[in-house]
């Protein structure tokens, strides 16, 4: 007697969102990236469709970051040249470039202007072929100015603009609409807010298939279980038919993992049994990202090229369809 294969019968599916636009589509990207589309839980190929593999975006800053020395051999020569850095990220295998405009922080001495940000985005687009995501410095007013200018400069490229939050989404949504770009909605580990934000963004007129969700990632050891469960709940909601949860999920795995002491501590400051600092930081990030893949992460933002390489390799193996 063969065993009965248990299958959940889902009626909903995650919407497909496309990042980037090629020449034929009015942009200049070498390729586009499709996110989402799942009609089942992660990697259960026997049960439904998983048309698009999770992709890896790599983080690029517009100013030199205060990162662990572990990054020096990979990016040491491009810290002050975001365009060259973006090209490097592509060489390291980024499917998507994620530009964080930290230099536009209004509290910095030489805060980057909106016009400068727009120019930088143009330069990055000219130098690279990957689809682009751009995040503002995280100050509502400045984010609005900067992303407005960026959206204009990148018109036609179908980039993603972030991050829109509950109290600050109008300006970014307007910018996304105007440039026909995608938007990243960020909600604080709360599936009701996630849903509400998607409703508000789409009510403003942003097409639903231009919205990505960042339900807030927390790093390994620092609250990741909350992100994992919120993602599982949202994905379940999407699959049973809630369209306002049915959007591809973006996980900021790299930045969050590297906030942890375990990722950064030099051997001299390490706790008992922590092992060597270099591999410790890399695995901390890779483990964060890989765990979130299992909860349905569609796009993983990675920081360390070696961590990205490990996760990419695992994605390949996870992409082998299982069957009965």
């Amino acid at each position: 007697m063969p065993v009965e294969i248990y299958k959940d019968k889902f009626t909903g599916k995650v919407l497909e969102v496309i990042l980037g636009a090629t020449k034929e589509q009015g942009g200049t990207r070498a390729y586009t990236v499709k996110l989402g589309g799942s009609s089942t839980l992660p990697f259960l190929y026997y049960e439904g469709e998983l048309p698009n593999r999770p992709v890896i975006a790599m983080e690029v800053w517009d100013i030199k970051p205060q990162w662990s020395s572990s990054f020096e051999p990979y990016y040491g020569d491009v810290w002050n040249d975001p365009v060259a850095w973006a090209k490097k990220a592509e060489e390291y295998g980024a499917d998507v470039v994620y530009l964080k405009l930290m230099g536009a922080d209004p509290e910095l001495e030489n805060s980057r202007s909106a016009a400068d940000c727009a120019k930088l985005v143009k330069d990055v687009l000219a130098a690279t072929g990957a689809p682009l995501m751009v995040e503002g410095p995280g100050f509502p007013e400045k984010d609005n100015d900067v992303l407005q200018a960026v959206a204009e400069a990148a018109a036609g490229e179908n980039i993603a603009l972030g991050a829109a939050e509950k109290d600050n989404y109008r300006g970014i949504a307007a910018a996304a609409m105007m440039g026909r770009h995608c938007i990243i909605g960020r909600s604080p580990l709360d599936i009701n807010i996630l849903k509400q934000l998607n409703i508000m963004i789409t009510e403003m007129g942003v097409p639903i298939n231009k919205v990505l969700n960042d339900p807030i990632t927390s790093g390994l050891g620092y609250g990741i279980e909350y992100s994992f469960s919120v993602m599982e709940r949202a994905r379940w909601g999407a699959l049973i038919g809630d369209k306002m949860m049915a959007l591809p999920v973006v996980c900021l795995a790299g930045p969050e993992a590297w906030r942890g002491k375990e990722a950064n501590a030099a051997n001299a400051d390490a706790g008992p049994g922590w092992g060597d600092e270099k591999d410790r930081g890399i695995i901390w990030e890779a483990m964060t990202a890989a765990a979130l893949l299992q909860a349905g992460g569609d796009l993983l933002l990675m920081r360390h090229p070696e961590a990205a390489k490990l996760v990419r390799k695992q994605i390949e193996e996870l992409a082998v369809p299982n069957k009965y």
């Binding site: 008992p272 049994g273 922590w274 890779a286 765990a291 490990l310």
Partner: protein, 441 residues
């Protein structure tokens, strides 16, 4: 659980005598189905009915124990598919595989014993050693089992499909209650006999999910751990998901046991990521090869995160803690009683080498920023508490150091407590240099 009220009703005497405390058998059946009554309240159930009901109300996945002394490992007995539905109860056992013919076996066991990782007040150790019968010889296997048992008190898994080898090794260390891996379609009768004889749990391995279920159904022994035989990561995830769903949602008995999974990746970094996927997707035991502690730390941390109760954050007892030999001139720091936050900060305060007081303020186990956003770590709460706290008597200088992320609460605390507030760094890793620069002691 499992049976509907109506199904239970069919098994009851239907006399409506009322002795169970509710007026009718149907009402009692409904109460049972809802988990609000126990079967023993009805004195008249037949033995057959009792058996059927016991089976139906048994936990969906059996609890299985292995190991001895204070290193007993309990696995299984999970009740949900998603941790947010309730919680996961029995963390995946993490085992390291060794070969019985390894010339450096003793040193390897020392190394495994030596893996003790500490972070944020938690201590992580490997749960056990899996000994592979690489030699194919019963004598070597037995000697290795004895050697390992002599060197570690951790749980042991014996890996061989040769019943005579198993009998030799399991017999020698029966008191340690090793897990015997594995009974297969070819050897199961003998393996079951060994397991019964030494009274140890037995793993059942199938060529696939189907073969595994068939084999389990044939085996008249209940201390089982199951393995569908899959090794490719995506198939393991599928099989583990089938097993968990079938056990929990369908009460399919052959799936009602803890599971075991083995890594195949040669690169240790990839191997721990693979083990992560198995832990995330329901494996009760994972067996891996790497002993690299930086990799294992990440894996243990993930296991610990996944298995925390989503309903209640791990918290420390609120109160004032002395870090080092604190005295009346020591600085006073405040943080929350979320265990992660507290230990992160305590470690940093400790590394200033300055005896200090650290207040774990009661935020119901929320982190600083979360508690602040939730109105639990604010001046209105901290100020009055501080004013009445016995820390007032303990120190001469009434200066409180607060996390930089909540600089905004400074004024209110000062107003309501009479203390002076110093805004510390945002991230606790800045505390050492902060102490050097700002606390001129």
């Amino acid at each position: 659980m499992g049976l509907t009220g109506l199904a239970i009703f069919k098994l009851l005497p239907k006399t409506n005598c009322g002795e169970c405390g509710v007026p009718t058998c149907l009402a009692f059946a409904m109460a049972l189905a809802a988990g609000k009554a126990t079967l023993s309240q009805c004195p008249y159930v037949s033995n057959e009915a009792r058996e059927a009901l016991d089976a139906a109300t048994a936990p969906p996945i059996k609890l299985v124990k292995m190991g001895s002394g204070d290193k007993v490992l309990a696995i299984g007995d999970e009740q949900v598919i998603f941790r947010h539905d309730k919680t996961f109860y029995h963390p995946t056992g993490i085992f390291i595989e060794v070969a019985d013919n390894d010339a450096n076996l003793a040193a390897k066991i020392d190394e495994i014993n030596g893996i003790v990782i500490e972070r944020v007040g938690q201590k992580y150790e490997v749960d056990g050693v899996a000994i592979a019968n690489a030699s194919g010889s019963a004598d070597t296997f037995k000697a290795a089992a004895e050697a390992v048992a002599g060197k570690t008190d951790k749980a042991i898994i014996l890996l061989t499909e040769c019943p005579t080898c198993m009998e030799a090794a399991a017999g020698a260390i029966a008191a340690r209650k090793p897990l015997l891996y594995a009974a297969t379609a070819d050897n199961y009768e003998k393996m079951v006999a060994v397991a019964k004889k030494v009274d140890a749990p037995l793993a059942v391995k199938g060529a696939d999910l189907n073969a595994m279920a068939e084999l389990v159904a044939k085996i008249d022994y209940k201390e089982l751990v199951i393995d569908s035989g899959a090794r490719q990561i995506s198939q393991v995830i599928a099989d583990q998901t089938q097993i968990r769903n079938g056990a929990v949602k369908k009460r399919f008995r052959p799936y009602g046991y803890p599971t075991i999974a083995f890594t195949t990746e040669a690169d240790p970094a990839m191997e721990v990521l693979e083990a992560q996927a198995f832990i995330s997707k329901y494996a009760s035991i994972v067996v891996l090869k790497t002993t690299k502690t930086e990799y294992l730390m990440a894996l243990f941390t993930w296991r610990s995160n996944l298995y925390t109760d989503p309903q209640k954050p791990i918290a420390v007892q609120p109160g004032v803690y002395a870090i080092g030999a604190a005295n009346e001139n020591s600085p006073v720091y405040i943080t929350t009683n979320f265990s992660l936050t507290y230990y992160t900060v305590a470690t940093e305060v400790e590394s200033t080498r300055l005896p200090s007081y650290l207040i774990a303020f009661d935020t119901d186990g929320l982190s600083v920023m979360t508690a602040w956003a939730g109105g639990k770590f604010i001046g209105e709460a901290i100020g009055p508490w501080l004013k009445d706290s016995d820390i007032n008597e303990k120190v001469k200088k009434k200066v409180l150091i607060i996390p930089g992320g909540v600089a905004a609460i400074k004024g209110k605390i000062e107003d309501l407590s009479g203390w002076e507030v110093m805004v510390g760094p945002r991230d606790s890793s800045g505390i050492t240099s902060f102490a050097k620069l700002r606390l001129n002691v």
